[in-house]
Symmetry: C2
Subunit: 209 residues, 2 copies
């Protein structure tokens, strides 16, 4: 299956559909229409049909989609259904919030190590994980075959941490630190800027859409 | 200026460009090319040009854009340059992280009230703001002319909080609680799901892009 040309906005919506389908499945519902998915997640039915059409026809006209099958299919597309080892670097408030975030584990993202440089935090436990000093990052991340790194450190040290993570074998990085990071082309980097979300809201308020 | 048809992905990138331009401006740089912006934020030069083209021609061929002018223009498009009153409901780890987030204030988003229902938290100060009980939300939000609400409460109470915020006159809501919320059509709602970011990464890893 060729999936290279799927826009990122579609991937993001698929992720949202999948979470909704998991909820619906838990309620024991067997089939669902694109209209019901649309209503459940707050996008248009046409958008849902268009997004699902990227992956060929797997609904039945007039009946809809089998909830479990559709969800399994989307999860496979998203590279889920497998388990990912995640490391988190920087245990400030945001780092702490992310370490405790239940949604990650539910979707197969297991935070298996946490690093900080604060002597008061090192050695303490968060969610059963012992906080380790950054000096141990390379060794531990390598040993755990950690694929993903989450960075919630101050901007000034973010590039150093990125370089350390890449040296240790991490393939993908989710960065919450402001500023621009350099990574080689084979590394997936995603910058999350929490302010952007507020700016989309104010744009929509201003433009009256 | 007609801005209704601008895709959300463009708005998000504009927000990122603007933050980069602010950095560049602070370094005293006067003009910048679309290629330099592209390199600075990690998107293609063609994408930058396409995004900026929504707002007409305001660069000079061969010279590039005036950094200050371009940034001012983008900020205006995004409804920034003005100040927004923001309330935050739910002072867990994520709520605490967001209350302390410097990026909000820098972009004109001022958290002016924080609510929680934990008696241990009520009356304490975060960033100089006294935590208040949810019972006072309606009165305080109304009095402050608060336009935006950020929700970081457990899912079970999110809908109740949304209804309270709307009753108090909030126009836009940024929701971090999982699950689906119902709002009337005139309210801007944006759901932030932190897991989605990891799923985009794993999709990209799997599809090899």
């Amino acid at each position: 299956m060729k999936t290279l040309k799927i826009p990122e906005a579609t991937i993001i919506r698929l992720s949202v559909y999948s979470r909704y389908l998991t909820e619906v499945d838990r309620k024991g519902i067997i089939t669902i229409s694109s209209g019901e998915i649309a209503e459940g997640v707050g996008v248009s039915p046409a958008q849902v049909r268009k997004d699902l059409a990227y992956f060929g026809e797997f609904g039945t006209r007039g009946v809809g989609y089998n909830v479990k099958d559709l969800n399994r299919h989307i999860l496979k597309i998203l590279g889920l259904g497998e388990e990912w080892n995640v490391t988190l670097v920087g245990l400030g408030n945001l780092g702490l919030a992310l370490s405790m975030y239940k949604g990650f584990r539910e979707r197969g993202f297991n935070i298996t190590s946490i690093f900080d440089n604060d002597p008061e935090k090192i050695g303490t436990l968060v969610n059963g994980i012992e906080i380790m000093p950054v000096e141990q990052l390379e060794e531990v991340v390598q040993k755990n075959h950690t694929q993903i790194g989450i960075i919630t450190v101050p901007s000034e040290v973010a590039q150093d941490i990125v370089s350390l993570l890449i040296k240790a074998g991490v393939q993908a990085i989710l960065n919450f630190a402001p500023g621009v990071l350099n990574v080689p082309p084979h590394i997936e980097l995603r910058n999350v800027d929490l302010t952007v979300n507020l700016e989309v809201l104010t744009f929509n308020l201003r433009s009256g859409r």
